[in-house]
Symmetry: C2
Subunit: 101 residues, 2 copies
C-alpha cells in the first residue's frame, strides 16, 4: 500500500466551503478510483489555510497513471481546484514502521 500526501494551501476564510467540497469530491470521484483504499482529511492548527489530504492506494500507478490519466482527475480538480491559493504539493510514501497501537 502507498500513501499519497497532498499538501493544500487554500484561500482564506473558505474553510467550511472547502471542507464540504473536498468531502464531496472524495465521495463522488476518488472513492470510485481503481486501487483506492481510504482517505483522511487533516486541517492544520497553526495555519488554517493548510490542509493535508492522505489517500491510500494499492499501488503507486493506481494514482499516478490510472487516476491522473483518467477523466476522473479533471472532475476532482474541478471540485477542489478553485479553492487552491497555490499549486498542491503531492508526493508518495512507503511505510517504514508504525506503532503497535
Amino acid at each position: 500500500m502507498i500513501l499519497e500526501l497532498a499538501d493544500f494551501s487554500i484561500h482564506p476564510n473558505q474553510n467550511a466551503a472547502f471542507e464540504a467540497a473536498i468531502q464531496r469530491g472524495l465521495a463522488s470521484v476518488i472513492s470510485h478510483a481503481k486501487g483506492f483504499e481510504g482517505f483522511k482529511v487533516n486541517r492544520c492548527i497553526e495555519n488554517p489555510q493548510r490542509y493535508v489530504l492522505q489517500i491510500f492506494w494499492t499501488t503507486l500507478e493506481n494514482h499516478t497513471v490510472d487516476f491522473r490519466e483518467s477523466p476522473a482527475f479533471t472532475e476532482w480538480r474541478a471540485i477542489v481546484g478553485p479553492f487552491f491559493a497555490s499549486p498542491p504539493v503531492v508526493q508518495h510514501f512507503e511505510l517504514v514502521a508504525k506503532s503497535a497501537s
Copy 2:
C-alpha cells in the same frame, strides 16, 4: 486526538542508519511521553531523503508543552538530529474527515 506531521530532510545515503535511529528514538523516548497514542514513519518515493513522521497525541499541549519542555526532547533530538540536512518542519492537525475503511 491531534496529529503531528514532522517533515524531515536527511543527508543522502543514510537511509538505513536513519531508519534504525528513528525507530530507536520512538521506542526509547517518544513512546513513553505523556499523551503519546501512536506513530507512523513514512519514506518518500520521489525523494528518498524526505521522511514524514506522524505522531498521534491526546492533546496539542502533550507535544508542544509536556514533551518539548521535558528532557526527553533533548534525548530524542540527540538521536535523530544528526541526520537532518535542514531544520524539521513540524505542524499539528485536526482530523476533518476520513473514509469508513
